[in-house]
């Protein structure tokens, strides 16, 4: 028996409506990554995380739990959970899970800030606890009225802080803020660029060479929604890396399975498995630029000798100068 689609959709809609996120975690959990970076609050230019990297460890935990309920009688209890969740935040305990893993995902964000600073992007702020999830998943699932209400909330906060330019860190948030929000808010005039685009435009000279053969996994959203294909390749190749293209790459990239993980975890695993086979056939060091791809492909790669890493670690090694972090690039295989 599949998971109860209607109930899960209701869960997500309720959470976004009442708690501003499909996975309402504590403000501390969402913002702790920025501690010590001295980012000003707000400003005309800001970094917008959209909570995507921060949510991954808890998301993985939830996915492991819910996938156990697929084809299990316990799945029948989901409707009861939805009723309870309207009154009590059933996600409250998620702010306490996978803390070690959280540090790694926080480090990706810290690396992105360091990269932007080293490249000389100029001052940019962060909204800290006022930053909200963009509602990307709720939009994709066709829960339009809840999503549109949420978009207005996010926009109001951006206006309040006088934001004019936004630097994003993941493709889903970029697509929402650049392509989808303007359709809902006619007066929307924000300039939205991903940090990969910003770094590529600044054309910084590498401070270290990358003597690596890297298999490129393009995110569907970056490649086909945002036309961001050259930027990651250009940045890595300029530092000396050799890009290995899998069977399907660039505009014809193959999905990681992530978009259906919330409703059909079994189908998502199957797609991720097929993608990791394509990637492993091209080489053993795979790079991703979306936290959802990272999660799904990393899980699919377990035991097959392939390592999957976020691009920020490679970029930090190549362009981070003296600020090289001990974080990502030396992570586990």
């Amino acid at each position: 028996m599949p998971l109860p689609t209607s109930t899960l959709l209701g869960f997500m809609a309720d959470n976004l409506e009442k708690r501003n996120s499909v996975m309402p975690l504590s403000s501390h959990r969402m913002t702790q990554w920025a501690a010590g970076l001295d980012l000003p609050q707000g400003g005309e230019s800001i970094l917008y995380t959209g909570h995507m990297y921060q949510m991954i460890p808890a998301l993985e935990y939830v996915e492991q739990m819910t996938s156990r309920f697929e084809d299990h009688w316990m799945g029948k209890l989901f409707p009861v959970g939805r009723v309870l969740n309207k009154y009590f935040n059933l996600s409250w305990f998620l702010s306490r899970v996978r803390r070690e893993e959280q540090r790694r995902y926080d480090e990706y964000l810290r690396n992105i800030v360091r990269l932007l600073r080293t490249a000389g992007v100029g001052e940019f702020g962060y909204l800290y606890g006022e930053e909200l999830y963009t509602g990307a998943l709720v939009h994709d699932l066709g829960l339009d009225d809840v999503f549109e209400e949420h978009v207005h909330k996010v926009y109001k906060i951006l206006v309040k802080h006088g934001v004019k330019r936004v630097i994003t860190v993941d493709p889903h948030t970029t697509d929402m803020l650049r392509n989808v929000y303007p359709k809902i808010i006619p007066e929307y005039g924000l300039e939205v660029k991903s940090y990969l685009q910003v770094l590529r435009e600044l054309d910084q000279k590498p401070t270290s060479r990358l003597e690596s053969d890297i298999v490129m996994h393009d995110s569907c959203v970056y490649a086909r929604y945002l036309d961001t294909v050259e930027e990651p390749r250009g940045l890595l190749e300029k530092a000396g890396a050799t890009i290995l293209e899998p069977e399907q790459s660039g505009k014809l990239t193959f999905c990681c399975g992530g978009p259906v993980e919330s409703l059909f975890p079994g189908k998502a695993r199957e797609i991720a498995g097929r993608r990791i086979e394509q990637l492993a056939a091209a080489g053993r060091d795979v790079v991703t630029m979306c936290p959802i791809c990272l999660l799904n492909l990393r899980n699919a790669a377990k035991g097959n000798g392939t390592s999957v890493r976020d691009i920020s670690g490679y970029l930090m090694k190549a362009y981070g100068g003296l600020e090289v972090s001990s974080g990502d690039i030396v992570e586990e295989d």
Partner: protein, 103 residues
């Protein structure tokens, strides 16, 4: 037996965004779909165009299984906004079947 629902046709026609009528049923999308969704989008759009609401709702698991990855759009000779059309149908099902409309 599938029944034609004229109200369904009217509602779809009122949408500016649903452009599946441009589909010429060549089958490229179905051939390239990572999910191997035989139904999507070609046959699905046929059901919509014919006003077969029952058939659309019957296939809602397939509609919610779409990855919205747009690989099909990249290969669509008629430039149909397939992902947006699928999202449109999700919204329709959420309102009519899942009863998740707020307004």
């Amino acid at each position: 037996m599938a029944r034609v629902n004229s109200e369904f046709i009217d509602e779809i026609r009122q949408s500016d965004s649903f452009d599946a009528s441009a589909c010429m049923h060549c089958g490229q999308c179905t051939a390239i779909c990572p999910m191997g969704l035989d139904l999507l989008p070609r046959r699905l759009f046929f059901y919509v165009g014919a006003g077969l609401e029952d058939k659309v709702i019957e296939n809602r698991e397939t509609i919610f299984s779409c990855l919205l990855c747009k690989l099909c759009e990249e290969n669509c000779p008629r430039g149909v906004n397939i992902a947006d059309d699928v999202r449109f149908l999700r919204n329709y099902i959420n309102r009519k079947v899942h009863k998740l409309a707020r307004n």
